[in-house]
């Protein structure tokens, strides 16, 4: 891979909540964090403190938008557990400690390369910003957003105008598992047709954010439909303790060509080497392979420094 291996560093700011409003099942927050707003690019995230509580660790949220002039970052929070519940309940005037922008942004292809941006649930949050960057450089962009049901959708004006892809992407497909809005089914059901259409304009770049099973399916579908004639850029959501590369909790097995030309798998930090990874580099055989570990990833036997049968670690 030609990309650098470290992410640009973030900055710490005590961000005042400028506005907080419900968007479907989620909460859209605008945070005043001027220095981060100046630096941020689509695909990066912000680590947010949840406030005075027994919960020490920051919560990572994808940047929905950054306004360098207003000095604001925007995020969309799903109240998934106790920490995001506190974040989703923030009111204007509250202060959220932030470190941002973190992680490596979505890579941007040569001008004109067609793109597909795919979001599952709140995973659609960073897509309008990304789509705008792509279309601005002349790429045709098709959006696909999906969710289990209509209330968990994001990115379509059927839910909320301000966070929608409508009018930014050249076309938008909406799916729900239960058919409550858009086409019944999954985002990947809609993907083959979109890929085939765009392939006429060049090898598409496929961007996806959402749960790991969806990312896997996006990668598999893309490869099935277009063979090697496409790239996939997947924003993963690994459980993160620090977000800045110091704790090694957020790793997943990634195969990369070393300087000596040999492809080797290492457990790479999603917060600094990601969160956006090339779908071909992820070791799908090891990710999610042990059901009792839920989203966890195993260490492939051929990974550098993997435990050996004889003792090891």
């Amino acid at each position: 891979m030609s990309r650098t291996t470290t992410a640009p560093a973030g900055v710490q700011e005590a961000a005042e909540v400028v506005s907080a409003r419900p968007v479907g099942a989620y909460t859209h927050l605008v945070l005043h964090a001027p220095e981060a707003a100046r630096r941020a690019q689509p695909g990066q995230f912000v680590a947010c403190g949840v406030g005075d509580s027994g919960m020490l660790l920051r919560r990572s949220l994808s940047l929905h938008a950054a306004d360098p002039v207003a000095g604001t970052l925007e995020v969309v929070v799903a109240a998934a557990g106790p920490g995001t519940r506190l974040l989703a309940a923030k009111r204007p005037g509250d202060v959220v400690p932030t470190t941002a922008p973190l992680g490596r942004p979505f890579p941007i292809p040569e001008a004109g390369t067609p793109g597909v941006v795919i979001g599952g649930g709140y995973g659609a949050a960073p897509l309008p910003w990304l789509a705008r960057v792509l279309t601005a450089q002349g790429s045709r962009v098709v959006g696909i957003v999906g969710a289990a049901s209509a209330d968990r959708l994001l990115g379509t004006s059927a839910v909320d105008d301000a966070t929608a892809l409508d009018g930014i992407a050249d076309a938008l497909v909406v799916t729900t598992d239960d058919g409550s809005l858009g086409a019944p089914g999954r985002v990947t059901d809609a993907l083959p047709e979109v890929l085939l259409e765009l392939a006429d304009l060049g090898d598409p770049w496929v961007y996806a954010c959402g749960p790991m099973p969806m990312l896997r399916s996006v990668h598999t579908t893309t490869r099935e439909v277009l063979g090697q004639g496409a790239r996939t850029w997947l924003a993963v959501e690994e459980s993160m303790a620090c977000g800045v590369g110091v704790c090694m909790t957020c790793v997943l097995p990634v195969a990369q060509d070393d300087d000596d030309g040999v492809r080797r798998t290492r457990m790479l930090r999603a917060c600094t080497a990601g969160p956006v990874f090339d779908g071909d580099a992820l070791r799908w055989d090891a990710i999610g392979a042990a059901p009792h570990l839920r989203g966890g990833a195993l260490v492939p036997d051929d990974a550098v420094g993997a435990p050996t049968a004889m003792g090891g670690h």
Partner: protein
């Protein structure tokens, strides 16, 4: 109601800067806060958030002989006022560390404590020898020996849980360090043995380490914990158990440092410096560890929420001491053990 009065402590006008310098044997530190091993990666990752050169020291993630992938994920679970981790000592191995990571720290002007780990005493000795052989221009000021890692020869029981195993590791490390010193004519690198709180008799393990040649102690490493996943009802960590860290364990850290210092004062342990670790997130927290006997303090888990924490804690500590009119950090190291010497306020008319 009554205002604080200070007895017996050297006074300084409130505005004067507090002398925060400290030392661990021959290793002199301008400031008493360090990163904690495994909580700052190789150190460079924190450079955007603090001045590495202004820290007392950067303590590296424990380095092993060979590259190590670490464990499967999940590797962490949040717990009340703390967290569990089960990383499995992921790292690139000593060669890569010396080639890539150490020069970056040297470049940044950092003082470095290299944490080492191994599966047997030989591996520890070899690593210590490599570090001790570095030239005088090396930023390495001390070695920290992570004996809370599994002993391959003894069913993976951690060295720190056994006085014999702990002593064997320290013997190997200190003889490697002494040979290098003898060969080069330079003073031997200080060797900190990092203790686990998960033992019946902490002082006995500490004593085994100093008998083995440790010239200082770091207390404490994480305490073994476990979280059950609410959905699967199986252990949440891929490694099943994990180390508990963060403010939740601070009372344990304070108690352990108190016990070690009490043992030193009673002559049961030699008078070696103690570096404190465990749940420090503020200057006031650091002061607790210092009052019971730590001459320097590591900031670990707090760094995850605030990557500037190791530097911030030093600033806050300075303010805590200045507010009390204390001129030198050294004046309050161990003060909690000294009846009548502490800072008191009268509680009754």
């Amino acid at each position: 109601m009554e205002s604080a009065t200070i007895k017996d402590v050297v006074h300084a006008p409130a505005a004067t800067a507090v002398d925060l310098s400290t030392s661990i044997g021959s290793f002199h530190l301008p400031a008493p806060t360090m990163t904690a091993s495994g909580c700052a990666a190789a150190g460079a990752e924190l450079a955007p958030y603090l001045d590495l050169a202004a820290l007392g020291a950067v303590v590296t993630k424990s380095v092993l002989r060979d590259p190590r992938s670490g464990r499967a994920t999940p590797r962490m679970a949040e717990t009340p006022s703390g967290m569990l981790n089960s990383i499995g000592l992921q790292g690139p191995g000593i060669d890569s560390f010396l080639e890539h990571d150490l020069p970056v720290l040297a470049e940044a002007g950092a003082r470095v404590v290299v944490s080492i780990a191994g599966g047997d005493a030989d591996e520890f000795g070899e690593l210590a020898g490599r570090l001790a052989a570095l030239g005088p221009e090396s930023p390495v000021g001390a070695i920290e020996v992570n004996i809370s890692c599994p002993n391959v020869a003894n069913r993976g029981l951690v060295f720190a849980c056994d006085t014999g195993a702990s002593r064997a590791v320290l013997d190997a490390v200190s003889s490697a360090v002494s040979s290098a010193a003898a060969a080069t004519g330079r003073p031997a690198l200080p060797v900190l043995a990092k203790l686990s709180p998960d033992v019946t008799d902490l002082v006995a393990v500490a004593r085994a380490c100093t008998d083995g040649g440790a010239t200082g102690l770091t207390a404490i490493n994480t305490t073994l914990g476990m979280v059950i996943d609410p959905v699967t009802l199986r252990p949440q960590l891929a490694g099943v158990t994990g180390g508990t860290s963060g403010p939740a364990i601070r009372p344990i850290a304070v108690r352990c440092i108190w016990q070690l210092t009490a043992a030193k004062r009673a002559g049961v342990l030699p008078d070696v410096p103690i570096v404190g670790a465990g749940g420090v997130a503020s200057g006031a927290d650091a002061l607790q560890l210092i009052a019971v006997g730590a001459c320097a303090v590591q900031v670990g888990t707090a760094t995850f929420a605030d990557p500037s924490a190791p530097a911030r804690v030093a600033r806050e500590l300075e303010a805590e001491l200045a507010r009390r009119g204390v001129a030198r950090l050294a004046d309050v190291v161990g003060i909690a053990h000294e009846p009548g010497r502490g800072i008191t306020r009268s509680t009754d008319l």
